[in-house]
Amino acid sequence: MRGRFNEQLTELNNNLIEMGALIEKAIAQATEALERRDAEVARSVMENDDLIDSKEKEIEARCLNLLLRQQPVAHDLSQVSAILKMITDMERIGDHAADISALCLGLSGQEYIMKSESIPKMATATIRMVTGSIDAFVNRDVAGAKAIKECDALVNALFLVAKKELIALVREEAANGEWAFDLWQIAKYYERIGDHAVNIAEWVIFAITGQHKNRQIF
């Protein structure tokens, strides 16, 4: 019984890593679409979002199955519940990557990206955060997960800088307003992705230590 449970838990872990890899790819490609103004890549990100959604459903079903049939307790329970929480954030990251790609399609052909310095920086930082949170899960690395939170402060600061940059651009030339709003939304999506990465990192810490946001739960 125990052996079967461990086997299922390992499988669940592998599934989560796979889903993590999918969202990493999604956000990296969305950023590529944004920077290179590549409509092809943007479309493929939007198509792949279904894959992420179905992966979430699959993992969710596995988690519930484990909870109901094996009734895990203590550390095992914290593992399964952490995974159940993480996939929600992962799925949201996938959605935001698709949202960014959708906005990119509307922007393609514009000389927009050169005008904002902070958005590409935000993209790089959030990609690092997402990868870092999944790495922390893979390597059971509490220190790595904690570092993600530090990174979020940078993304939040860049978000404010981006806002100022875009306001200045609109002030300079009113016609810029059209794409500046889109870019503003994109910046917001990156900021959200950063927040979701922090959530994932917090659940990683919970899965390892049983502490969530410095509160001992298990």
Binding site: I17, L22, E24, I134, V138, N139
Partner: protein, 570 residues
């Protein structure tokens, strides 16, 4: 084993004693029954000649004659009991259907035997027909065979218990005698069998021990060899089980993935989670070969996914960062070469076409022809340089080094270039008459000085100077050569890049000076082949110093040094 021997022994004892007891009982009982039968038969036959009436009269008159050790019954031909010496005859049932009576009536005598109401006792009967048709029956009751068994049981049980105890002790002794020498047998040294029956076993063990030792040694050697290979190869090697678990990983894997903890036992996804790589791993596990590229920590790897016989997959990681860079540089170089070759050819064919079409004014013809001559010279120089470079790439100049005096070579080269220097208004000086021997190839070193001095003259100003100085380290005999000029100088950002092929500080100037852009690349290549170093310092508008350093003459450095592509900045 001891318990089993004990149990078997006890069972054997109990079984044999029981069997013997049963057999004895049967034999004794049979004997006893036969004797009894004979006795009652003899008694019955004694009265055979008498009538019933006579017998009854005699027994009534003389009760003493009635046998008192057995039952005698007189029965009328119709089966009614007439007389019985133990019970009152009238109370008896009709005996006509009794087996012995029926038989006696038919053939004159009859015998039978019946159990009483319990099985414990048995009665034997013998009946004879008297002359008057009445039947005289004698009967005697004795213990039945079951009673006999019942009586024999306690002593038999006692014997069994006794023998079981004795058997137990004996079995214990026996097993001890068999087992203890076996236990005491030492299997590490030479095996001495405690009794002869064990000699074949001892021999078999010895043989097998030798065989196992041999196989273990072979296995250990093979393992050690594989470990040495795995541990020392730069390529990362991973072995993945059918379930995707990492079974083996060499130290290079740790370097490639910057691992802080062992990965054996983890799923391969913990290392390669990128969707397309995870897919290739799955395909390799399903038996297909694949290759892919992986970027980790600023380096580039080629991954070879191969299925392993009997399930699982092997992943080999080859670092292709250098070869990838070399390949890119090679492509750049080819593109540059074509471009550089095309430029003079375009001019040549352009001017030639104008001349051929007769479009040139007579006054310009000489100028055009001079241009064609200059451009062809540039083309030739370029081709020469490219050929030299490819020769350096191919065989590093060919052949081994000999003791070469570079001061003499520099002086000779300076003499060749003296005329050119004079034409440019530059004074060329080669200091030092002392020989400076290094291991080298004179033709390549002459080429080196030609390139350096030609540059120093070409990029100089009228009235400027070029000076070559030598210094030999007394301690390690290293030779340092400095070629200093008072030319236009090179901005600091370009100090490194001037050694790259086709790099030019000022592209507009290149046309004027007619350089190929390969001079310093060739110079650096030659220096590196000679185990030397080359560096450059310069101030714009003041001049440039190129410093060369060579190891002093020694027979240890007679082969040209290998030069990698990135080292010469291709």
């Amino acid at each position: 084993m001891r318990a089993r021997i004990r149990r078997d022994m006890a069972l054997l004892t109990a079984a044999s004693i029981t069997l013997v007891a049963v057999a004895l009982c049967l034999i004794f009982y049979r004997q006893f029954a036969m004797t009894l039968q004979a006795e009652i038969k003899a008694r019955a036959e004694m009265f055979r000649e008498m009538n019933a009436a006579q017998l009854m009269a005699a027994w009534s008159a003389q009760p003493v004659f009635v046998p008192n050790d057995m039952r005698m019954t007189l029965i009328a031909p119709d089966g009614t009991a007439l007389y019985d010496n133990t019970v009152i005859a009238k109370t008896l049932d009709n005996h006509a259907d009794r087996a012995e009576i029926r038989r006696a009536r038919a053939v004159g005598f009859g015998a039978s035997s019946r159990y009483s109401d319990t099985l414990r006792r048995q009665t034997s009967y013998f009946a004879v027909r008297l002359p008057d048709g009445c039947i005289l029956r004698a009967a005697k009751t004795s213990d039945s065979i079951f009673a006999l068994f019942g009586r024999a049981l306690p002593p038999v049980a006692a014997v069994i218990t006794l023998l079981a105890i004795i058997g137990h002790i004996a079995a214990d002794r026996l097993t001890s005698r068999i087992v203890e020498p076996l236990n005491a047998m030492r299997l590490d040294g030479e095996i001495i069998p405690p009794y002869d029956e064990l000699t074949p076993l001892a021999r078999a063990i010895t043989e097998q021990r030798e065989r196992i030792a041999g196989q273990l040694t072979a296995l250990a050697e093979r393992t050690a060899t594989i470990n040495v290979i795995m541990d020392n190869m730069d390529e990362g090697a991973l072995l993945v089980s059918r379930q995707g678990t990492i079974v083996a990983a060499n130290p290079s894997i740790g370097t490639i993935f910057a691992l802080s903890q062992p990965v054996i036992g983890n799923n391969i996804l913990t290392l390669l989670r990128e969707p397309h790589l995870a897919e290739l791993t799955r395909r390799a596990l399903a038996g297909h070969r694949h290759e892919a590229t992986l970027k980790r920590q600023e380096r580039e790897y080629r991954i070879y996914f191969s299925p392993v016989l009997g399930g699982g997959a092997a992943l080999l990681f080859l670092d292709t960062t250098e070869s990838g860079r070399a390949e890119r540089l090679r492509r750049e170089f080819s593109a540059n070469v074509s471009h550089e070759l095309k430029t003079p050819l375009t001019s040549i064919s352009g001017y030639a076409e104008i001349l051929a079409e007769g479009l040139a004014r007579p006054g310009d013809q000489a100028k055009f022809l001079a241009k064609i001559k200059d451009e062809s010279a540039r083309l030739l120089a370029l081709i020469d340089d490219i050929l030299l470079l490819s020769r350096l790439d191919e065989d590093r100049g060919g052949g081994d080094f000999t003791e070469t005096d570079i001061a003499a070579i520099a002086a000779k080269t300076a003499a060749v270039l003296a005329e050119k220097a004079e034409a440019a208004g530059v004074s060329l000086r080669c200091a030092g008459q002392e020989p400076m021997p290094i291991p080298g190839k004179p033709s390549l070193l002459a080429e080196l000085f030609f390139n350096l001095l030609e540059n120093a003259i070409k990029y100089n100003r009228p009235g400027g100077e070029v000076e070559v100085t030598f210094r030999r380290d007394d301690h390690d005999r290293r030779v340092t050569v400095v070629v200093r000029d008072t030319g236009i100088g090179i901005p600091q950002a370009a100090w490194e890049r001037v050694f790259e092929r086709f790099y030019r500080v000022d592209t507009s100037r290149a046309k004027k000076t007619g350089g190929t852009g390969l001079g310093l690349a060739i110079a650096k290549h030659i220096v590196l082949i000679h185990h030397g170093e080359i560096s450059l310092t310069s101030r714009v508008g003041e001049g440039t110093s190129v410093t060369l350093m060579f190891p002093g003459w020694t027979t240890k450095l007679l082969t040209p040094a290998p030069v990698t592509a990135p080292a010469i900045g291709r």
